[in-house]
Amino acid sequence: MPAEAFHEWLRREGRIVIVGASLAGLRAAETLRAEGFAGPLTMIGDEPYEPYDRPPLSKAALLGMASPDHTELPRRRDIDATWRLGVAAAGLDMAARRVRLADGEEVPYDRLLIATGVHARPWPKEDEAQLDGVFVLRTRDDAVRLHRRMKGPPRRVLIIGAGFTGSEIASACRNQGIAVTVAERAGAPLVGALGGVIGAVAAELHRENGVDLRTGVMVTGLEGDVTGRVRAAHLSDGSVVETDVVVVSLGATRNTDWLEGSGLGAGPRGIACDAGCRAFDFRGIVTDDIYVAGDVARSPHPLFGYQFLSLEHWGNAVAQAEVAAHNMISAGADRRPHMWVPAFWSSQFGVNIKSVGVPSMGEEVMITQGSLTERRFVGVYGYQGRVIAAVSFDNTRWLEFYQRLIETGAPFPVEFTTVDRRPEGRKPVPADFPDPSLPTHGPTVTLSGYSPADRQLVFTPARH
């Protein structure tokens, strides 16, 4: 069948299966229908719930503003799908084009979208992880359990890991007046994502809000009482923290186990795909019937030296799902690349933290507006003489200007004057990221793969 006719058939009666019924999966399904896909659509999700939003779980829900079991995503349109919820995908037969479910059933597809996301990295010592009072926070069930326990209230919460989620939970605890200790292996919170210069500001935020912040330490063990409830944690500096709730916040692992042996290019760092969201097989050959979107994907980005980026970003999940869905039912020339500029937000201790670009690529950082000591600023990251990222603390309205600097590969350091430029912001300083070879739970952007030195390309952002 010629390509034109094939895609016409595909749009009319092809079978599309989406594995992963969360943000990316839902938005992809809506895009497929919006673009005229009329065939049968199957949504597979391992959780028994219809698509729900996760960011409120570590924010509004813990602050009592939202019920953790009611964050279902609003629908943009009806998607007329067959839902297979509460049953995980267990395998993929690429040759026969079938997804095998955990209950043994097989679902055939003509086009497959994988949007299985990530899961919280559990506490590595299994017996300790089983103790009552030890939590992770990723799913609705996690949130309901943690929420119930927080109402106790606990005498002290211990949070292991001061990345964004850990910091947000600490912030919510303090907001509720709950004593909290945060243990972080690095020198400050958020170091993996934003570097040590900004991390120092985050550390002040923790301490000023009454968090018992312990940095440069590891939790070496959790101890339970006779009833199996957690009662204390042992730290690498020899100290002991008495606690009745432990939240393990050590980042996330990509949900790719089910693809083992399938022949797809999937592994612990995610599923490699091209800029059009088509998955690679394990030989590095691109498929044309399997697409990837959201946290589980890693794809090359022209603005960042064609490195493969894995992004655990809400906005990326939406944007990538839309591109993937469009490309799934479009012939070659109509396909679009996924060139979303990474953007991230966090809200903690009453401060709005946002970033654009890839801060962790930054060698140096300079504060172009505001001041670190006032905790209202814009910081710009430079990489090889170019602006690569920016971060704002309560200064978000300026950030889109810096996004344009990133998109156009503007020179770094930033020499021109800006309003609110302070003397200390005229010189770049080392951004102070940890050695990338050391394991960290922090970054929300992971880089891997090809990195040409030359990035003299013109990037024209799409306008509505």
Binding site: E50, P56, M65, P74
Partner: protein, 81 residues
């Protein structure tokens, strides 16, 4: 009603928190925290907030409908498994 705010787009203008204070609240100057499942009594306020958002970051479902569960609510039970 169901709500989601695209907090990448959100620039903390707080129009929603002015116009539907029971649903959207500011934590500090720019951080928005909201109830993703407000009650029907908030419908008019939420409609004002959605329209007023200077960056059109709020997606709401159930703004126009008389019943609480317009799309998808029964789906979990009927379509699942």
């Amino acid at each position: 009603m169901r709500l989601v705010v695209d907090l990448n787009k959100c620039q903390g203008y707080a129009q929603c928190a002015f116009l539907a204070p029971g649903v959207f609240t500011m934590h500090g100057e720019e951080s928005l925290v909201y109830n993703p499942r407000p009650g029907t009594e908030q419908r008019e306020r939420v409609a004002r907030a959605v329209a007023a958002c200077p960056v059109q970051a709020i997606t709401a479902e159930g703004l126009d409908d008389a019943d609480e569960e317009p799309v998808g609510a029964g789906r979990e039970a009927s379509d699942a498994r």
